[in-house]
């Protein structure tokens, strides 16, 4: 079992996904004729297609391989990730998705300006869109090289350049129309990749047997407990060139029954804070929110969210099974970590190649590549729209023609794609899981309170919005800077920053609404009405 050198089947699978994506993305470019096509796919995307695309946009390699690896290393606390990532869509459905679509804009900064009639708030919206998307894309681009090297054997640098180049190319020419089609395809590759091998693995060992063997190192689990018997897992497996579980690492990762028990990774406070970040962060990610603008109306945006919950639910239900299976096959002693101390993302490759055959390994490779392509493409759209639509088209040069805006959009994608590749090459040792977690925490602390209150509270004011988004964002930044400077161990800001953002919105809006004149109040009412009245669908 080696991860060195070229691996033929996974390499073929990766090339297949790359070529398929590129061809479909570029063919879609012919259907991208207007700005609406470029940014919101002409608002003509059906429920099934958009649900698949949203799911694919959301499921990055961190979800695809990372959650299973997290369960493998940390046991139950990893299961929180699997459910917390999905849970955010409930709040998105209940409070945000359909009014946001009904508002009929292109981006979240559009909402900021349109709802509060404030260009200043658009500036702030652009700032936080770039911060959140940049944090996310850095993590993804670092993951691109790592994953390509792990699953295909291609050198790290070339993995980043090739994959980054392909994504940039098809996003630049296809815009949201091209991205929608490719993301839909990528989602079904991903779902097949996580489910199909289980049809071979699970008939061999049911899940309770897997669990028993997963924590067999306690000595409490005896073979007699496993009715029908189970093949003794192979001994310690190691990956070539990678250190196995050291004593120091054993202190960090739970073993034995502790692996099954809660709080293997976080204490009570940490668990609650993580849940807040996952649940609220999902509902505040600009690259996910932008996809709801592509549905024809609010009712379809709602049904899209329902199907997203089903699709990603099916996906995440499998991840603890994968993590448990890996624990059983590889054993706790073989928990492998990368240089940044994170569980090795190679986990699933090792497991599938060991027990389900080479075809499964290739399938997982295809799924992992699809996961990266889909998320990076969505992030590129979010970043480039913040620049080309919100900054260039709405602030810098409002008189620009649609043709000029389209050119600006393509140039922005190419620039951000190039920057993302450069960052990926520079930050090779970045802690991917931490950066993704941070992006969630910042999104939870900024856009989630802004959108929830802005959509449902008629009397929220521009100053209240600015106070909330800046309070949440700055508290997140302070917590992170303090952690980086080793001033404290606390690293999950959401438990403080999210309530603080809501509180700031409430207090400042209460203080400032009474100072509005009738005209300003009417303007806020009209915008509020446009968010909720079903007739807005016809206009939007």
């Amino acid at each position: 079992m080696s991860n060195g050198g070229i691996q033929v089947l996974p390499l073929i699978a990766a090339i297949f996904v790359l070529l398929l994506t590129m061809v479909i993305g570029l063919l879609s470019a012919r259907r991208t004729k207007t700005l609406s096509d470029y940014w919101v796919a002409g608002r003509s995307v059906g429920v099934f297609t958009n649900a698949s695309a949203i799911s694919s946009n959301y499921l990055s390699a961190a979800s695809f391989l990372g959650v299973a690896a997290f369960v493998w290393a940390n046991g139950f606390d990893g299961v929180w990730y699997a459910t917390g990532f999905a849970a955010g869509y409930i709040l998105l459905l209940l409070f945000i998705a359909s009014p946001l679509r009904r508002f009929g804009q292109y981006t979240i900064p559009d909402f900021c300006q349109g709802r509060f009639h404030s260009q200043r708030l658009r500036h702030i919206g652009i700032l936080w869109t770039v911060v959140i998307s940049a944090l996310y894309i850095i993590a993804q681009m670092v993951g691109v090289g790592t994953l390509m090297e792990a699953v295909t054997g291609i050198p790290w640098v070339w993995g980043v350049i090739v994959l980054g180049g392909v994504i940039t190319l098809y996003v630049a020419f296809g815009g949201m129309t091209g991205v929608t089609v490719t993301q839909m395809l990528q989602f079904w590759i991903m779902l097949t990749a996580v489910i199909a091998p289980l049809f071979i693995l699970l008939p061999k060992h049911n899940y309770s047997e897997l669990l028993l063997h997963a924590y067999r190192d306690t000595g409490e689990v005896v073979a007699a407990e496993v009715s029908g018997g189970i093949e003794e897992p192979p001994g310690l497996l190691t990956v070539e060139g990678t250190a196995a579980f050291t004593e120091a690492e054993q202190e960090r990762f739970p073993t034995g029954r502790d692996w099954v028990r809660p709080f293997g990774k976080w204490n009570l406070f940490g668990s609650v804070s993580l849940l807040i970040a996952l649940v609220c962060g999902t509902a505040g990610l600009p690259h996910i929110l932008a996809r709801f603008y592509t549905n024809p109306n609010a009712a379809k945006a709602r049904w899209s969210t329902v199907w997203v919950l089903v699709f990603i639910g099916l996906f995440y239900i499998t991840t603890p099974i994968w993590g448990t299976y890996a624990r059983m096959v590889l054993g706790p002693e073989a928990v492998l970590v990368n240089e940044a101390g994170q569980p090795n993302p190679n986990t699933m490759m090792l497991v599938t190649s060991f027990d389900a055959g080479e075809w499964a390994k290739a399938l997982v490779a295809a799924g992992a590549i699809a996961a990266l392509l889909s998320t990076v493409s969505g992030l590129l759209i979010a970043l480039s729209s913040a620049f080309a639509h919100d900054f260039y088209g709405e602030i810098l040069y409002r008189e620009a023609s649609d043709k000029q805006k389209m050119i600006a959009a393509k140039v922005a994608v190419i620039i951000f794609g190039g920057v993302a590749i450069g960052i990926g090459l520079t930050f090779r040792d970045a802690n991917i899981a931490w950066m993704v977690g941070l992006a969630f925490a910042v999104a939870a602390s900024t856009f989630f309170p802004l959108l929830t209150c802005g959509i449902w509270w008629r009397r929220m004011t521009e100053k209240g919005a600015i106070a909330g988004i800046m309070t949440g964002g700055l508290i997140s930044a302070v917590v992170v800077i303090g952690k980086l400077a080793n001033a404290w161990e606390f690293e999950q800001p959401a438990v403080i920053s999210v309530p603080a953002a809501f509180l700031a919105i409430y207090i400042v809006s209460k203080l400032t609404y009474s100072k509005h004149n009738d005209e300003q109040c009417d303007a806020l009412d009209i915008a509020f009405h446009a968010l909720h009245h079903p007739d807005s669908d016809k206009a939007g």
Binding site: T83, A86, L93, S208
Partner: protein
């Protein structure tokens, strides 16, 4: 149905479902902390908390989402029909 009534009903439904959702999720860490052994007692061969968080919560999300979407779209249809 009038628009204001519909909006009021939608918001109440959202808040009710959100409350159920938040309680069912956020109570789990506290139960884990206070009654750990009971939470990992096997159900169908799987520790209860793994089963609940890993599968049951997803089923709850799906049901809530379908209920909310069906009712919301129906109420909006009644407003636009008038």
């Amino acid at each position: 149905m009038k628009y204001e009534q519909m909006q009021d009903k939608q918001l109440k439904l959202s808040i009710l479902l959100a409350a159920i959702f938040l309680v069912s999720m956020f109570i789990v860490p506290f139960l884990n902390n206070s009654m750990t052994d009971a939470m990992i007692a096997p159900v169908l061969g799987i520790p209860f908390v793994w089963l609940f968080v890993g599968i049951v919560l997803h089923l709850e999300f799906w049901i809530m989402a379908i209920v909310y979407t069906t009712l919301s779209n129906r109420w909006e249809g009644e407003v636009t029909d008038e």
